[in-house]
């Protein structure tokens, strides 16, 4: 990009700011100067030489602080934005310790294999330059068995991922005796990625790691690195179960950047219908790509990524110009690893100019610098938004991020409140190391690794978990200890990436091809690749011939269709326990275990481009049942919210509860740092358990990941934001951007204007007063 100033860059493609009414806000983020520090005085001369060899004469201030904290033996958590020289924050203190003590070892954990490979290259080539006597070894699923023994015995720094630590290293710890005995440092990079169910698993893997290290007499220090989140210190503590010292200064310089909000024009102001996010994003991305700007477009789901990528490629298609010499690829989970690696490489070396991605590319996978990011729909969290926006931008030269709002309430709330957006703190990341399923699974693995002694500490209730496992014969208590007493190898059946391990394999059966083209977790499969569903894979369309859940197999056939499919899922919920309760003048709440049964019953066929509904089909899949945690919002007649509802007719009440539920569910993720899909909702105008109108908000992961607990703490803010969106909308009788339209299907007889008014009154009553502490 030859334009230095961010505004110039923007103007080159979209005209001067203010000329295009779609850009409702343009925020300029000024460049920042670096803040430096000298090399630490005790730094080994060989390290200093290696740094100077890379042209580094001084450190950034955050690197120097991390060094000091880590060298003093404390656990450190460093918060840095992208491209701020983060790796030196841990490479320096670790390399120094390894040079001082020839037997010391360090373990590096990266969330994915791809990141491990990047890091090994970085360590070998840059930090250590081959001159330092420190052997670095990658140990993951791709390491050939001939190299594994050497990695274990001689690797001073071993790079791996949590999955390999969980299933390969810890269960075989007697082979790692030397490594564990001398383990000095554990580095956890991309810590912000360890949230939700994955984070809950990893926190338990860390518990196991510490237990095994302690068996060999080692007590390693941790160095954690995170992108900007609201609660780095708390997340780090929960992840490693120990105190940490926080380093959150940032001494790295940054280039200027522009963040623009684009609100697609209203097509029908009365009904509040806007031009679709996908269409608008495609148009913006095309303009950028055609002016030679390397662009990444983030979309909200796997289906949307495929849709948008094919819209882009259709628009560029031209046999005479090789598609205008612009290549755009979709990138998402479910692609095969080699397909992903090829796309990453193409982006780095410039063969690919555009990529459409899910949040899969949020993590620090090296794809080189891009110039612009188009974010089609709010990604669900501010932290995620800034990660995605950060994908555009190199060390020098201006960059641009465009947020294209969808018509959902959260997006509209954001474009209407840029000050709030740019002024607020990022959300907190949560994980729950004590999720009962996750925890019990890891107690199982830990018992396999070393017998548990009576009174040994490990998580919240190790005796409870062990006596539960004893009932199934997995462990056996005898002589005051619990022994693993089963034949299996427990970590093999436990995946860290989801609460349930089993994936459905997608097989292309077109003309007897019989080739595996992807995979999907079982619950998603039931909602996405049911019989007759359209599955899009790298722009090619497939129709599902048969989803065979029993054999975890989905056969698809390549076929040209002009629509995609969207399942209509029906959810039923049963309250199992009430663990905490509270109330405010506006409403009451209850927190506890629930049983959620969800089932896709039918699906809509939606035409490409116009997105109109062109038909329905039946889905025949068994329901999914999960036990999880829910926050139930209750509106008994005694509460202000309940009093508003009590005055309404039955149909009006149902419509108001339904539209408020929709609004609350859409707004809540922003206060919880979760993906909107992590949160489920089920509302009743009269709940059989609580005997009052009720909105259940539940964690979609079995056993919960702490969302329900966090939600009850943020209720006043959530109600206030919901009221603002629902009450402040300019539409006439309710639109997708406020109270939604889904309530119209069952309650078509209630006029929208009335529903909008009663929803507003209801939310106002709820938000009216602060929460009185619950118990």
């Amino acid at each position: 990009m030859d334009t230095d100033s961010a505004t110039g860059f923007f103007a080159k493609t979209f005209g001067p700011p203010g000329s295009d009414p779609r850009f409702v806000h343009v925020e300029s983020i000024p460049p920042r100067e670096g803040v430096h520090a000298d090399f630490p005085r005790d730094l080994d001369p060989r390290l200093a030489r290696a740094l100077r060899g890379r042209g580094i004469e001084r450190l950034y201030v955050h690197q120097a602080r991390s060094y000091d904290a880590a060298r003093s033996g404390r656990n450190v958590c460093v918060v840095t934005p992208t491209a701020s020289g983060k790796t030196l924050c841990y490479n320096l203190p670790v390399a120094q310790a390894l040079l001082e003590s020839p037997s010391a070892r360090a373990l590096y954990l990266f969330p994915t294999k791809a990141l491990s490979q990047d890091q090994q290259a970085e360590l070998n080539e840059l930090a250590l330059g081959g001159e330092l006597p420190i052997r670095v070894a990658t140990y993951d699923g791709d390491t050939p068995s001939s190299l594994r023994a050497a990695a274990r015995d001689t690797g001073r720094i071993v790079i791996t991922n949590p999955d390999m630590l969980h299933s390969g290293v810890l269960p075989n710890h007697p082979k790692w005796i030397k490594f564990f005995s001398d383990l000095r440092y554990v580095v956890i990079d991309e810590m912000h990625g360890y949230r939700g169910v994955f984070g809950s698993h990893v926190a338990n893997v860390v518990r196991r790691l510490k237990r095994v290290a302690a068996f060999y007499g080692a007590r390693p220090s941790f160095i954690l690195c995170s992108a900007t989140i609201g609660n780095p210190e708390e997340l780090a503590k929960r992840l490693i179960g120990e105190d940490v010292e926080l380093v959150d200064v940032n001494g790295a310089p940054s280039a200027p950047k522009l963040v623009a909000f684009c609100n697609p024009p209203l097509v029908d102001p009365v009904q509040g219908i806007r031009k679709s996010t996908a269409t608008e994003s495609v148009e913006l991305a095309l303009r950028l790509l055609r002016s030679g700007v390397k662009t990444i477009l983030f979309a909200r789901s796997r289906v949307r990524v495929e849709l948008i990528a094919s819209y882009l490629n259709d628009a560029l298609a031209n046999v005479w110009t090789e598609n205008e010499r612009i290549r755009v690829e979709p990138y998402r989970s479910g692609l095969l690893p080699n397909e992903r690696r090829a796309i990453e490489k193409g982006l780095r070396n410039g063969e690919i100019q555009g990529v459409v991605s899910t949040n899969a590319l949020e993590l620090g996978i090296d794809i080189g610098g891009l110039d612009a990011a188009v974010i089609a729909g709010f990604p669900g969290s501010f932290a995620s938004f800034w990660q995605q926006a950060g994908r555009a931008g190199r060390r020098s030269g201006a960059s641009l991020a465009v947020f294209v709002a969808s018509s959902n309430p959260l997006d509209q709330y954001i474009v209407a409140h840029p000050d709030y957006f740019f002024g607020r703190d990022p959300e907190s990341a949560r994980l729950d190391p004590d999720n009962p399923y996750v925890y019990a699974d890891h107690v199982k693995c830990a018992a396999f690794e070393l017998p548990f002694a009576e009174g040994e500490g490990f998580g919240p209730d190790v005796e409870g978990a062990l006596s539960f496992l004893e009932e199934d014969g997995h462990v056996r208590k005898t002589g005051g200890r619990w022994f693993w007493s089963s034949q299996g190898y427990p970590s093999e059946g436990i995946s860290l990436r989801s609460a349930m391990a089993d994936n459905v394999v997608i097989v292309d059966a077109t003309e007897g091809r019989d080739a595996v083209i992807g995979e999907m977790d079982r619950p998603s499969a039931k909602e996405l690749i049911f019989d007759d569903a359209v599955y899009i894979h790298r722009g090619r369309q497939f129709v599902v011939l048969k989803l065979d859940i029993e054999n975890r197999l989905c056969k698809v056939e390549e076929r040209e269709v002009n629509y995609y499919t969207d399942a209509v899922v029906k959810t039923d919920l049963k309250v199992l326990s009430v663990d905490a309760e509270g109330s405010s003048p506006g409403y009451a709440w209850s927190l506890g275990d629930v049983l959620v049964r969800s089932q896709a019953e039918k699906f809509k066929k939606i035409r490409f481009h116009t997105h109109e509904n062109v038909g329905y089909g039946e889905v025949h899949q068994s329901p999914e049942e999960t036990q999880t945690r829910a926050a139930s919002l209750l509106f008994p007649p005694g509460s202000a919210g309940g009093a508003v509802l009590a005055k309404l007719s039955e149909a009006e009440r149902a419509a108001a509860v339904s539209s408020a539920a929709n609004l609350v569910r859409q707004i809540a993720p922003v206060f919880l740092m979760c993906d909107p899909r992590d949160l489920g909702v089920s509302e009743r105008s009269r709940d059989p358990h609580f005997e009052a109108p009720c909105i259940h908000l539940y964690d979609r992961y079995p056993g919960g990941t702490g969302l329900a607990e966090a939600l009850v703490e943020r209720l006043p803010e959530i109600f206030a934001a919901a009221l603002e969106r629902g009450g402040g909308c300019a539409c006439e009788s309710g639109c997708p951007s406020c109270i939604g339209v889904d309530w119209q299907v069952p309650f078509a007889q209630v006029p929208g204007r009335a529903v909008k008014a009663s929803t507003r009154a209801f939310l106002a009553a709820c938000a009216g007063a602060g929460d009185r502490a619950g118990s």
């Binding site: 199934d472 056996r476 190898y489 049942e625």
Partner: protein, 381 residues
């Protein structure tokens, strides 16, 4: 809040996982039926001795089994005193290894007057393991030489891990794992080289009642839980029998390496190749015999041996007698051109090799060779 255990139980009901889980039977306490022939040696640890009457020599040849590092440490590897040998085998709680798999039964066989005496250590439950390991270490005294079947890959790494986890030191001893030598002799001729398969095919012995190896872990798990399981008798018999067969098989395998013509079911090519570096004259007669019976691999090994011995004429004859392959034809072409000075014959051989060669690089080399030979024939130096 519901307790963790209650919540987990509820989840199990939802998943219906409990339906096929076995109900643990009440444990038999003092009325346990001791497995056949065992007595309690220590709390939680059972022992028995079983004698197998076998005809065994005083001195054993372990050279075919020992890696180079162990050969040096053992003295005279072709005549190891029988009294030093410890034939050993473990039975474990799982087949995939990992820190949660333990050895619940260990057998150590010693050569005694008139046969082999097998001592077995069986734990009654998990806490018996440290006592078993301590006894095992005592059995593997300083002078001991381990003899095993696949012990290098399975039993010893597992035992080493168990010793580490119990804060004990695994006694590192010279170790003759006979698996590889047995594969060398019999894999091509007999197929399966499991100990049981060789016991039947090589030693001609049949077992009456036996238990498949894959079922052994669950027997111990049931045995520890209930205090009795009649299948444990079968497991113990299986384990003792394995050790006795191991002794006989080690003896037979060693003998075949020294007297290759004692049996007709061995693979002459592999055995001859192994002998080539140790006893070239014997190797040559083994390979010649094999080649004489039409074994092409023996012929190739023989050609290699002839070259090492510098007997090119014999090698020429062997190569001429082998099936024409790109390798044999090109080797003969080289000889014809450089040693025998007959480029026309060399050209003929190279041309015959070309249609048989599939590998791209080798084809290109062959084409260059042919072109060069043609030039040479047209314009002799």
């Amino acid at each position: 809040m519901a307790s963790l255990k209650e919540r987990l139980r509820r989840a199990r009901e939802i998943a219906g996982a409990r339906a096929d889980a076995p109900r643990p039977e009440p444990r038999a306490h003092n009325d346990r039926n001791m497995p056949e022939g065992f007595e309690r040696a220590a709390p939680g640890l059972l022992r028995r001795e079983t004698f197998f009457a076998l005809e065994l020599p005083e001195a054993w040849n372990l050279e075919p089994f020992l890696p180079a590092a162990d050969l040096a440490s053992i003295g005279e590897p072709r005549a190891v005193e029988g009294g030093r040998l410890r034939f050993f085998d473990l039975e474990t709680t799982g087949l995939s290894g990992g820190a949660g798999t333990i050895a619940f039964l260990a057998a150590v066989g010693r050569v005694v007057e008139g046969g082999v005496s097998v001592r077995q250590w069986l734990i009654e439950d998990w806490p018996g393991e440290p006592a078993l390991l301590a006894e095992l270490a005592r059995d593997l005294d300083e002078e001991a030489v381990l003899v095993s079947y696949n012990g290098r890959s399975f039993d010893v790494p597992l035992a080493r891990g168990r010793f580490v986890m119990n804060r004990l030191r695994w006694p590192e001893r010279p170790h003759a794992d006979i698996l590889h030598a047995c594969r060398r002799l019999w894999r091509r001729t007999l197929g399966s080289c499991s100990l049981q398969a060789l016991e039947s095919a090589v030693l001609g012995a049949e077992r009456a009642a036996d238990i498949p190896g894959a079922e052994i872990p669950e027997v111990f798990i049931a045995f520890a839980r209930t205090g009795r399981d009649e299948r444990m008798d079968l497991v113990a018999r299986h384990n003792a029998r394995d050790v006795a067969s191991l002794a006989l098989l080690a003896l037979e395998a060693a003998r075949v390496h020294a007297e290759p013509f004692r049996r007709v079911d061995v693979d002459p090519a592999s055995l001859g190749a192994w002998l080539s570096r140790r006893d070239p004259a014997l190797a040559r007669s083994v390979l010649e015999t094999g080649f004489g019976r039409g074994d092409e691999r023996a012929g190739l090994a023989l050609a290699a041996l002839c070259r090492r011995e510098g007997d090119e004429a014999a090698r020429d004859a062997v190569l001429a007698g082998l099936e024409p392959t790109p390798f044999t034809l090109v080797e003969r072409a080289k000889r014809a051109e450089h040693a025998l000075g007959d480029p026309s014959a060399a050209l003929e051989l190279a041309e015959a090799a070309l249609p048989l060669e599939r590998r791209q690089a080798a084809r290109a080399a062959l084409e260059r060779r042919i072109a060069r030979l043609r030039r040479k024939i047209r314009a002799p130096a």
